[in-house]
């Protein structure tokens, strides 16, 4: 059985084809190939194939085109050249009206295929070349070409059934969108695509069996047209899979690099700097390290895309004129801030805190219901010590949320004497807190009083009576009575600085021990 012209075109890599007119839906058969323009009427169904550019130029003459188009044995015209050729809209419309395909093949090595009118095998090794062509020209080029050749709209949906891209005439796209609205839920829920009625049909792009994307095209297509679309979706799947594998590999490399950076696993500082450059990080300069923990409100999880947050933070840095490197690590957001300026110690801390505040505001704006806390590690003049800064930022985050519950941003340098507590044995700490708080704890346990909590709030608000009473939802006089009672039970005077300091540490230690158990 002879192959039709369209069947033969299926064997030519798509990136070597330009469809100057749509291909007729019905198969086009020819018996002869002619390489010159006919002087007389053709005697049998013929395909005209030209390789010389000057021959193409005759197509610019309308009278010439009108003459040859009348030949009933003219089945199609193929132009073969690497040079780009285009004819006027008017000439194109004439060919379109007469249903004569005008195809441009960019590589002459495929011309022999047109001679083989018998069944020919598709060389599968060609897939690699086709894929390469697709990488060069991109999916959108192919889709647009086929949409024009097959006279069908093309709507591209990602794995979440979001419309990413569309091609076709305005009317066609409108109809296809209407159809998509109607069957969107079916598609999203993974309903069998064959069960979804026309006039459009989804073509599935199965990417490594992991995700599915769709190309929506007209359902009313001939077999060869569908095969051409299948070829497009097949190639796209391969391309996306290759890209996905590459992306996953890149991510893994980056993950290893980040791990090594934060856990100090480099052979030398030079190696670290060299690897950092691969990711666009200049680790020759010192950095601040921020560790961000976000606790999402209910329902926000699905809508949150970490990439959005990361790009938000990056753009925030750009707007401030600072270089920020945000990334995800062990369920937390880490941000490196480049800082090589000569600054005084306090000023450097304020600089990091200022950026942290802006990041916090950005995240809170994006996730209004979420609780966002930021821990900042020490600044070291060499990036090789970022591993220490990371552990300190985590410490600041962990213990900051215990000691300074009202603070959203904690710098390890601001912990002062409290930072020593983490290194003191628990029994010593326990004894210390019991020494001062045991009468209050006993009263709380037996009488349901809230003395320890009252003291905690009292210290958190620096002893401002109005603020404390407001925070505790009690009257100021009640608070005064309660504090008097606390003084009685502990034997401490809250007006005495030294005694108050001991009580302050006892309360801090008490909550420290209890929060981590």
């Amino acid at each position: 059985m002879k192959n039709s012209f369209q069947e033969i075109l299926l064997h030519i890599p798509l990136h070597h084809l330009t469809f100057m007119t749509p291909l007729p839906k019905n198969p086009v058969y020819y018996t002869r190939i002619k390489h010159e323009w006919p002087q007389d009427w053709l005697k049998s169904p013929s395909l005209l194939v030209f390789e010389k550019y000057e021959e193409f130029e005759k197509l610019h003459r309308k009278e010439f085109v009108l003459k040859i188009i009348q030949d009933s044995h003219l089945m199609g015209i193929v132009l073969c050249s690497q040079r780009k050729f285009s004819c006027s809209e008017e000439i194109g419309a004439i060919f379109r009206q007469c249903g004569i395909p005008l195809v441009h093949i960019h590589d002459s090595s495929y011309l022999p295929l047109l001679e083989h009118t018998h069944q020919s095998l598709y060389p599968y090794s060609q897939i690699s070349e086709e894929l390469n062509g697709m990488v060069d020209k991109g999916f959108t080029y192919y889709a647009r070409e086929l949409s024009r050749a097959l006279e069908t709209p093309g709507l591209y949906l990602d794995q979440y059934c979001r419309l990413l891209w569309q091609t076709g005439t305005e009317q066609e796209i409108k109809e296809a969108e209407g159809w998509l609205r109607k069957y969107y839920t079916d598609l999203k829920n993974g309903k069998d695509v064959k069960a979804i009625p026309g006039p459009f049909e989804p073509y599935i792009m199965n990417i490594a069996g992991l995700s599915k994307q769709f190309l929506i095209a007209s359902a009313d297509l001939a077999d060869w047209q569908k095969r051409m679309l299948h070829k497009l979706t097949g190639l796209t799947s391969l391309l996306l899979q290759t890209e996905e594998i590459f992306r996953v590999q890149q991510e893994r490399f980056k993950e290893h690099f980040i791990y090594d950076l934060l856990y100090h696993k480099f052979e030398s500082e030079t190696m670290m700097i060299k690897q950092g450059k691969a990711w666009g990080w200049n680790l020759e300069k010192p950095h601040h390290l921020l560790c961000i923990h976000i606790e999402l409100a209910d329902g926000e999880e699905q809508e949150l895309s970490p990439e959005v947050l990361l790009s938000d933070i990056e753009s925030e840095g750009e707007s401030m004129g600072e270089t920020l490197h945000p990334f995800l690590f062990q369920e937390q957001l880490i941000v490196l801030i480049e800082d090589e300026e000569e600054r005084a110690k306090g000023e450097r801390e304020r600089f990091a805190a200022k950026i942290a505040e802006k990041i916090h505001r950005k995240i809170s704006g994006r996730l209004p219901g979420a609780v966002c806390k930021i821990g900042i590690g020490k600044w070291y003049p060499q990036s090789i010590h970022l591993n220490k800064s990371y552990q300190e930022a985590r410490l600041a985050l962990k213990f900051g949320s215990i000691w300074f519950r009202e603070k959203q941003i904690c710098h390890i340098e601001n912990f002062g004497v409290l930072s020593l507590l983490v290194h003191i044995h628990k029994d010593i700490l326990y004894d210390f807190s019991q020494k001062y708080l045991s009468p209050l704890l006993e009263s709380d346990r037996e009488n349901g009083t809230e003395y320890v909590h009252t003291l905690d709030v009292y210290f958190q608000h620096q002893g401002k009576m109005n603020d404390v009473s407001e925070a505790l939802f009690i009257h100021v006089n009640t608070l005064r009575n309660r504090l008097r009672k606390i003084e009685e039970l502990t034997g401490m005077d809250l007006q005495d600085k030294e005694q108050t300091m001991n009580l302050y540490f006892a309360v801090r230690i008490y909550f420290f021990i209890h929060s981590i158990q």
Partner: protein, 186 residues
Amino acid sequence: MADQYVFCVDFNKCIACKTCEMACNEYYGLEGIHRRKVVFFQTEILDNVVHFTISCNHCQNPVCVSICPQNNFHKRRDGIVVLQSNNCRTCLRCVTACPFRAPKINPKTNRADKCNMCVERIERGFKPVCVESCVTHALNIMKVDSAKRKSMAMEHKTRIPLESYTNPSIVSTTKKKKRTIFLREG
């Protein structure tokens, strides 16, 4: 990062024979120091005294890493915390900061020393020498997904403040099975 090594201790099987301690000392030629130690403790939940073999727990957030002024500690991709003691100045910070008291001063070298999970043996496909020598198989190592580490932390809180922060790489079986006594003739 995906899989990381953790020590796995079965309280039910440990008989406090201290073979693990001895094997480690012999393998590394240690004198006057134990990288691994069998400890005893009693809790409210368990009536009996529990034997527990402990060394460096290769924590997820090792405090030794941040405390060492020479930055001598690093954590490998497989989770093992390795100490490069060449630059150790014996400042003792790691010794006092570690909630598990894992780093100790080696009297021979007068530098900090700690368990490295027999990293050179692991690289050759063997288990650490303490694990290999455990006669009751109470001590073992396993690989766990670091993302799932939280759920696999020690069931028994040691009530050491930093413990919850450092997230030690140790999995323990705590429930002591009730002893069954079989009476036999003769």
